[in-house]
């Protein structure tokens, strides 16, 4: 009896989280079926007519499908390629700083941009890179004419990825710094006596220590390869840079909420999620093979 009583209280504690999850996570999952229907308000989700894969086919045959799909892929791959190693390097470098005070201050500065909003980050990119901004003042002084960065499709990806690294790399290194704190200093001492120099010790002691963490971070970021941030891409979009800046999430927004084509938009969104899940499973499989059976699951 006592057991039931105590559990009732625990059910009460978990209830808010459970109800909110059902309402705002699971009900929308059920709502995904509108991707297979011709959704109309008057008929509701259940009452609308089934149309099968009509909207998926429509998207796959759309003239801009390849462009948007490749844009999403390229932007993510670029971000992953640069964004994955840099935090690891930062952590390894921070780990060599022996004076605690210096280390704390450097970390304090490196983490700071993570707390700036994406609106402000993009806003800073706009003011810094504007034709009359500081970067162009230097470029104009050197070459005579400014570069119109924000409306040039050739620069979109680099601005997106590099500003992302500027903002996030320091913060992303925190997890590796934590893992490196677990390295036994005796290992380093023993290796030094055996004649290993610093670089060798980093390679043979520090890197293997953080390998499991690296694997997990890699799986998670690779699994999200198509799920790149809507928020930033949307803010950075201008009519001129659309050839490279239109990606699946921004397209879903435009088709769905702007144009009101709910079913078509939901289909594109579902297409995006499915690719994500496939990538996650695939990358986890590969990493498991390479990482002595250590994967995310």
């Amino acid at each position: 009896m006592e057991f039931v009583k105590s559990n009732i209280f625990l059910y009460g504690l978990i209830a808010p989280a459970f109800i909110l999850t059902l309402l705002f996570k699971y009900v929308p999952m059920y709502g995904v079926i509108i991707a297979f229907k011709d959704f109309s308000y008057s008929k509701g989700i259940l009452g609308s007519d089934w149309v099968g894969f009509k909207y998926f086919e429509k998207f796959l045959n759309a003239p801009n499908f390849e462009l948007i799909f490749m844009n999403t892929l390229k932007l993510s791959a670029y971000g992953l390629l640069l964004g994955f190693p840099i935090p690891i390097l930062l952590a390894l470098m921070l780990n060599q700083v022996r004076r605690e005070g210096v280390k704390k201050n450097v970390q304090l500065i490196l983490y700071a941009p993570n707390f700036i909003s994406v609106v402000v980050i993009v806003g800073m990119a706009f003011v810094f890179l504007s034709p009359i901004g500081p970067v162009n003042q230097i470029i104009t002084w050197a070459t005579g004419h400014p570069i119109v960065f924000m409306s040039d499709p050739d620069y979109f990806r680099s601005i997106y990825v590099l500003s992302g690294i500027w903002q996030g790399a320091g913060w992303a290194s925190i997890i590796y710094v934590a893992a490196l704190a677990g390295v036994d200093p005796e290992l380093h001492n023993a290796a030094t006596i055996d004649g290993a120099n610093l670089l060798k010790r980093i390679w043979h002691i520090d890197l293997p220590t953080i390998k499991p963490v690296m694997a997990i971070v890699f799986i998670l970021s690779a699994g999200g390869i198509m799920a790149i941030g809507f928020e930033k891409a949307f803010l950075m979009q201008t009519a001129m840079n659309l050839p490279t800046s239109e990606i699946l999430p921004t397209y879903v927004y435009k088709v769905g909420l702007k144009a009101g084509d709910y079913s078509y938009s939901a289909a594109i969104g579902l297409f995006n999620s499915i690719i994500n899940i496939i990538l996650l499973v695939f990358v986890n499989f590969v990493v498991k093979k390479l990482n002595e059976g250590e994967g995310l699951y």
Binding site: N7, F9, L10, T21, K25, I34, Y111, F128, V213
Partner: protein, 294 residues
Amino acid sequence: MNIKPTRMDKVVLTINYVLLYLAVLVILVPLVYVVIASFMEPTALLNKGISFNLSDYSLEGYKLILSNEAMLRGFVNAVFYSSAFAFLTVAVSIFAGYSLSVDEFVGKKFFMTVFVFTMFFGGGLIPTFLVIKQLGMLNTVWAIIVPGAVSVWNIILARTFFKGIPRELNEAAKVDGASEMLIFFRIVLPLSKPIIFVLALYAFVGQWNSYFDAMIYLDNVKLYPLQLVLRSILVQNQIDPGMITDRTAMAEMKRLSEIIKYASIVISSLPLIVMYPFFQKYFEKGVMVGSLKS
């Protein structure tokens, strides 16, 4: 035992420091530039860029920002949304995290699976929007603070923290005849200040910096949080004409728009900048709790 570094190691260490300080500079220079630029006289900034001549400085940017109604209302709204959101998030996560940390809790596995599954699959933008709409939450404060309040990550963070509290405390209290409820409120909660603090901080900052939910769920300009107001100034380049009092039109607009942007960046980041150094040890703790165990 400490072994002297070799000459080769010293070279590597020096390069290490140089690169690290370079990274620090890359972060600091743009930030410092924004702050200095925000204090400059608009014409001087436009013509000369950053200068170190005292007469080129003015508070004009801040005067314009602080007299702007949309900006102030956005600020007040953001404070309200962020506080309410943080309160709700902390309550939901702490409650759920605690129950999931109790070994004897029947159904623990089931609830955990329900939560974790949402990390991998979601309904997406349109179905979620339709739910919010059906619930009549469009254009209300609820759409901003309720749907995002439950986060799997936070629940796991809280659960991990509670698992770290020795169970002997609970056992002892139980022997003394305390109910699970009494134990939670009298013993566990007072010990939970660090995790409450971490979760509240994350939630507050997250909400303070977000614009997307407000953009899709709110139509009423009066409800806009700061980031949406900032978006129109910084990104869409829509400087509210009311901001510029003497109406010398375009030329004046252009002259002032840059300075308004810099000043608004500083003002909007101010609360976080002030909080930031005090909280460093807490957010590191939070990340570590989350990363090492789960």
